[in-house]
Symmetry: D2
Subunit: 259 residues, 4 copies
């Protein structure tokens, strides 16, 4: 069961640091500057095995495609939401078995996949995008990694109001969250939680002002995550020279009857 | 279905910032310096409603108990693993429907709960602790939040070797990871992933040296996460004066056939 | 020349972490819970020597009082400017031999001392405070550390305009920098530099808007510094658990003829 | 007195972000892709004035060359010490009027210049490098910015021992600080201070072990500084996407008679 089958989506990781997320179609191949690998040779291999490129002794590995590889490999037009931020917000949203969660906008589907995994087989994810084209691309993207069959793709703009109610959680990632936060909170059940993505301080300010006025959200928190990775030489252990300086701020809140 | 029932575990959040995770037993009550709330009055209330303390007009809310409230409210002897770190590592471990994941040690059960949620109803979590007393406490802790019935508590020391094999992922959080990492990796299937908690640089160094020698792990990464929270006054937006300076480093790797 | 003399201001550092900045007056003494040290015993000692407290074997050291000890030991009503921020801004302001620098407001005099040292014997520091009482306290504070006799204390509010012109640099640390930045820049010579202390994002925003309108400042930069300190156990090297999360943002600019 | 004179070293800053530190020699010129500026046209201009490139309406400014521009503009073979680190260490070393400070190694002379400014006209900087060629280049570099005539360039290796004694402060920036720290501390007077540059954790560990054994240094501190800069658009205020992840750790200590 840990063997590559036809039509698996796999991660091919070369020892020069490059990697590729590809579907192992019959008679297919992957050509890189230093050689070619034929997919028929890969079918039946164990995941984690070495693959050799014909004509060169450059090495690679065939691996299961992970959600982080997927998130970072996607060619997207939309702004990236980083694993560091998504991981943190999933915990804060307290997603759990059987929860119903709303997402706006769908974007590349990366967060959608994480939400799907977090609420489980009996949970439900409803994800809106204003552009049906985006929804279509996201649906295709999601065929690349395992997730539950619990996602509903819809077209619509949270600014116009959404008809969903009694949701357990909301993940709001739209360009002008200050104009959407009220409608988003309206979809939540009492004790439900929201996470709002806001890359600039001006957005944080405006969202906080809106939440202040609504008087039905408590435990409002604004967080920023930073991550730093390290050179892995144990003789010269030190952080990498460069790091990501900013992705977004995250605003959290819990809906109550009134404040 | 969003109403408080007898024997629910709830979060009571006071407007002075204090909160309590308690079980709503019949005829029970919660006494705080400024008043008392009787549980019989709470049964039947909607989650998110205001609760009033008899004799004082101090306000509180009755909320669903979230995993983050749970993680931070636990009285534990063991070192805390922070949501910022757990959230990140869950994504990196690529936990997904039907995965089997191993954890050492169980500790308070906080991470166990997160793992249980991440692998879903058909997944499997095996969690070891050297002290059966810990396992018992963790099992009790887990009754406080929803998770899947997919967890097996075991007593044992990863340093003595574990008999499990073909695991998808391993979360290793023990006092001397350098002496456990080899046995931990041995339980993984090829293409399986490990996350190692290592609070000091000396541990990171020693773990990296061990992984180097094993020659069956690639994509080794060392990460550190930092989080900063903000004062939520939109007129005077700024980070809080103090922040957490350090929790742990996290070492990740993917097992392969040979490197 | 490295010996304690009467009337020296010294730092007494106890091995429990406490320290005291005190003046060694004749017949004086310092009493702490575990003993007393008599100043007559200290006169003539070498700096760096151990001092013993009569009746207890608790140790201490007599040291030169440094500007960092001074900055952190001051009992002040005004907001602290941290060494991390001051050190950075001194370099950015490019303070050098013979420069003239303006400071508003004087506060405790901590930055005043740093500025005095930075422009040297032939340089000049003019420091304004709206409260003459502050200026007096700052002047007294400065008797505790060596600096140049190049400081002029004045009373006045930068919001009313300052009559100084052709200054090389300006260090602006007032409660509402957005209302002072224009007058501050007016005192600078062309190619002169300003550093503005702004603890909140709202202030940064408003100051940037003002500078934008003035059209005579280039190379506008907004910086934030963070510092983290480490437990010094070489066997368990790791950052301290807590760190400072925020002090201030710093806005820098260079005045030009027009932009 | 704020006018450009022949042989001044100036900073020419273009409005595309590029800048040049150059000496205004008679009949000289600066050619960049979009035009040429002739130095004879610059002599007599006020600092801060606009300069126009013949044939294009691209703008630039003629500015005083600052120490930060100098530090970042130097083409160096040696590792950069960042303003954030230098600014902080100058304060911690408590450099003040009339101090004597030692530096190893000289490198590009950037820190040398900062030290020279910090101890003033009557202070003294002695700076060693193992390579006399480096000393020569550093001396030339220093002609580009104002500093005091208080610097002595010497050739030598701190590992072989230095004959200087009774120094107020030491700035140690060499490739293997663990082998030099003892000799460095030996040059200090009691109550004197040292700053050690150590980019990797392994170096920090070894230096701490050495200092531990010497038993004559107290108040040992290990610090790391981080800086983040912000996009200066007041409508979309946010940190830059990338930041520097690491430069170095700094180890500080104060020498005493015995510990």
């Amino acid at each position: 069961m840990n063997f590559v089958e036809e039509n698996d989506v796999v991660l091919i990781k070369l020892n020069n640091g490059e990697d590729f997320v590809i579907k192992i179609v019959k008679d297919g191949f992957l050509s890189v500057p230093f050689g070619t690998v034929f997919f028929n040779d890969l079918i039946g291999k164990e995941y984690g095995e070495v693959i050799n490129f014909r004509g060169k002794n450059r090495r690679g590995y065939i691996l299961k495609n992970s959600i982080v590889d997927y998130i970072f490999n996607l060619k997207r037009k939309t702004q990236v939401v980083y694993p560091k931020d998504v991981g943190y917000s999933i915990l804060y949203l307290d997603l759990k078995p059987r929860d119903s969660v709303l997402e706006c906008g769908t974007g590349s589907g990366a967060v959608t996949a994480v939400l799907s995994r977090a609420v489980g087989k009996e949970g439900r994810v409803i994800t809106y995008d204003i552009d049906p084209e985006n929804s279509k691309i996201a649906e295709e993207n999601l065929t690349f990694i395992p997730f539950y069959n619990n996602v509903l793709f819809k077209t619509g703009n949270v600014k116009d109001g959404l008809k969903e109610r009694d949701m357990d959680a909301f993940f709001l990632d739209v360009p002008d969250p200050e104009n959407s936060v009220e409608n988003a909170i309206n979809t939540l059940k009492h004790s439900g939680k929201i996470c709002i993505i806001a890359p600039t301080f001006n957005q944080v300010q405006k969202v906080l002002e809106k939440m202040e006025k609504m008087k039905n959200t408590i435990d409002i928190q604004v967080w920023e995550t930073m991550i730093r990775n390290y050179k892995i030489n144990p003789e010269r252990l030190r952080p990498e020279d460069k790091m990501v300086g900013h992705t977004t701020f995250m605003i959290f809140g819990t809906k109550v009857v009134w404040r």
